[in-house]
């Protein structure tokens, strides 16, 4: 068959039938942004309810549905697909491959996501309401006491898992098999490395999640007793299986973010990444350790003391490779010729705020202290510092960094910087006070609270609204850039940027590297 040196197809069929990694990456990115807005609007409802003590706007059952869906949509709909989209766009260009290894399956991995979220969102309108048992769906809340819509929730999790597994297999095959001649493993950009390791984690733990929801399904409909002590099962078993998936899952979210930051900080420091090899080993070490720390999410369930100690020390060990990474990013900036364009601002914002989130994680890892912190707003503050200021900030950085390469137009720098500062300030107003109310004993997932938490909660809600509004600015800036941004055809948008993606034309042609480049 002949060559096909052609551009994209016209109309809707381009998106429905595409096998092009750039098209698929674009769809992932837009879909994840839509989910980000959806999950964000759930968060706005939560913060509006918590603006003042007492029951204000929604009834408690709906509040629980909002916290549940906010978590699920953000984790599975916004953050994970956004990084898969980034992987689709960037990995083939970074390693000099013509496309992803299995292009048709690539399209399928994307297209099963929208129906899965359609099913999940439709539970809001079902009898008994949407799932209201928290994004961690602990049994027996999610089995004995669950609304009927839980069945749809279970199947949508199955489909999401299928999508992730296929996406990861594709990424592994691409990275292992399609690197250009000379692109050895230890020459790969950090973003590719972090995604390779993330893909291993996904293939390993998504099936375990599938197992967990299957056991739920059987308990609900077919009379098994995995999570019911009356038949000899144990609800805590659910937590063990869930967190065996769940802890690697948080690294699945954060490792690609590490990769993005490891690309951006050297570019704007105009220095190569400090300690590249140690970065690779640290990433691998974090991934390995993520499999042996899961029970630190469940110190209060009544585990044997030996278990508590093991999981405490194993968790603390993760601070070592993570510290290596933070040290390397700071050392990369040390004596660099730094400039502070929007991607760099977000990367530095990531560095500072993620480190705070990491330290609160270290506090939470101390088993005896965790008995105080457990299920309080301190935990909420901790994981939002990691998820939002970690993953979402790095995603914003990535969009600003690569947007000129994607569409051949420059974004508005002033608006980008404004977006950063409003986000940064709004985020900290929203989540920093939650450390204090949490330490003082305010529990999470409750629509009402004691009066002494009123001021901090109002502050927190105001910050959340500011952060939410700043995302509208982000959307506007991106759309304005694509439609009417200043055209640029420079191959290298940023003079300090390194890597194969900056050697191709701007905007990146529909097909890149149809014959592989020679990497020296």
């Amino acid at each position: 068959m002949g060559d096909h040196h052609h551009g994209p197809a016209k109309g809707l069929s381009r998106w429905l039938f595409t096998t092009n990694h750039k098209d698929i990456g674009t769809m992932y990115l837009w879909f994840s942004f839509a989910m980000f807005i959806l999950g964000g609007s759930f968060a706005m409802i939560i913060r509006a309810e918590l603006f003042q003590p007492g029951m204000q706007l929604v009834d408690p059952a709906f509040f629980n549905q909002m916290t549940t869906l906010h978590g699920l949509v953000m984790v599975f709909g916004a953050i994970m697909p956004s990084f898969v989209g980034l992987a689709n766009w960037m990995i083939p260009m970074m390693i000099g491959a013509p496309d992803m290894a299995l292009p048709r399956m690539n399209n399928w991995s994307f297209w099963i996501l929208p129906p899965a979220f359609l099913i999940l969102a439709s539970t809001l309108f079902m009898e008994g309401g949407a799932p209201a048992f928290g994004w961690t769906f602990y049994a027996p809340l999610s089995t004995t006491y669950a609304p009927p819509s839980v069945t749809y929730f279970i199947f949508s999790i199955h489909v999401l898992g299928l999508s992730s597994i296929m996406g990861s297999i594709n990424i592994i095959a691409t990275v292992m098999n399609m690197r250009a001649p000379g692109m050895t493993y230890m020459k790969m950009p950090m973003f590719v490395w972090t995604w390779l390791i993330t893909a291993f984690l996904l293939v390993a733990v998504m099936p375990v999640l599938a197992g967990a929801v299957t056991m739920m399904l059987m308990d609900i409909h077919f009379g098994t007793s995995f999570f019911s002590a009356a038949g000899g099962g144990d609800p805590v078993l659910f937590q063990h299986i869930f967190w065996f998936f769940g802890h690697p899952e948080v690294y699945i979210i954060i490792l690609p973010a590490f990769g993005v930051v490891s690309q951006i900080i050297p570019a704007f420091s105009r220095k190569p990444l400090f300690g590249y090899d140690s970065m690779v080993y640290a990433t691998a070490a974090i991934a390995f350790l993520s499999f042996v720390v899961w029970a630190h999410h469940m110190y209060t369930v009544g585990m044997p003391v030996a278990g508590e100690l093991f999981f405490m020390y194993a968790t603390m060990l993760i601070a070592v490779p993570t510290g290596v990474k933070v040290f390397n990013w700071v050392s990369t900036m040390w004596r660099g010729a730094m400039t502070f364009e929007t991607p760099m601002l977000f990367a530095i914002g990531f560095l500072v705020l993620f480190t705070i989130g990491g330290f609160t994680g270290l506090m939470l890892s101390i088993a005896p202290a965790d008995f105080q912190y457990h299920d309080s707003y301190f935990v909420v503050a901790h994981f939002h510092y990691v998820m939002v200021a970690g993953a979402v900030f790095s995603m914003s950085a990535a969009v600003y960094y690569w947007l000129p390469k994607w569409c051949g137009r420059m974004y508005n720098e002033t608006m980008g910087k404004t977006h950063f500062w409003i986000s940064f300030i709004g985020f900290n107003i929203a989540f920093f006070p939650q450390h204090f109310v949490g330490l003082a004993g305010m529990p999470r997932r409750i629509p009402d609270y004691a009066l002494q938490f009123a001021d901090f909660n109002m502050l927190s809600s105001i910050g959340a609204f500011i952060y939410g509004a700043s995302q509208i600015l982000f959307l506007y800036n991106v759309v304005a850039t694509i439609v009417a941004g200043k055209p640029t055809s420079e191959e290298k948008t940023w003079d300090g940027a390194e890597g194969l993606e900056w050697t191709v034309a701007t905007p990146a042609p529909y097909h890149t590297f149809e014959t592989p480049p020679q990497v020296k």
Partner: protein
Amino acid sequence: MTTQSSTEYEKYYVPEKSKMAICATIGLFLSTYGAASIMNDMTFGDPGVETNSWTIFWVGLFFFSATLFAWFRIAIKENIAGLNSAQLKKSYVLGMFWFIFSEVMFFLAFFGALFYLRNLVGPWLAGEGEGGRMNHLLWEGFEYNWPMSLTPQEAVGGAANQPIANMGSFTSAEKSMAFGEAAAWYLWLPMWNTLVLLSSSVTVHIAHMGILDGNKRKFNLWLGISVVLGMLFVGLQILEYYEAYAHYGLTLNSGIYGSTFFMLTGFHGFHVVMGMTMLLIQWLRSVKGGHFTADDHFGFEASSWYWHFVDVVWVFLFLFVYIL
């Protein structure tokens, strides 16, 4: 920094746009939505009300299967047309390998549950160790043994007497599936199942050697035998389930012993059916379509890896579910 070179790598085949993914999505969406609706009708629905859940499910499943059939057909045709470079073939190999790895992890979740329940939860419920307080507070009188002869619910005198809510009643099996009388060892089905499945792994390997030698007759014969052995295994497994329900009182409701027994063997059986179907299709491709040569038989190779994987899972099942 870079120069274009095409000396080392052949051109990688990037397929034209394809309708397969979107069709498979529609099929998957309908069948999962239908399946969820069927289960909800069953558990929460009003038995008098007619629903179309089954129709949605079957339409979806049919559409999904038809799409997969067309999809594999296209992939096979591309290979026969010589579009697949050695590099592309390696992508398929990697894809299959990591798919099987993900399957291993799926079974690991169920084996992990089995170990946790048997070694920790059972003793705790019976009052031993650090979780032992549960016994005095909730399950007074429960004694633990494996296979469980009396569920905690039965120990306190049924669902009405138990202090916590749950979803129904759990009655223990009258007899377990473990090895029974030594005198009648030849009637113990799991042993025959093990023999059948292990030999089918050997016959698949013989078929593999056959195709590597380019001996199509040998290949077709031994692959056919493997498929028949697979069918025999499934038949014996159906017999075993029948025995469990009819004569052993062992059901999905039989407490945690029944749960783990049926989920582990059930998912394994489902994977055997999948693997057998894969092998059967390879056999039909070889006999009817004349596919496969000594150096191009990945469809068969992938199916045989899958078959060996299913076999290894059975070995662990046999060990931990039936023997220990």
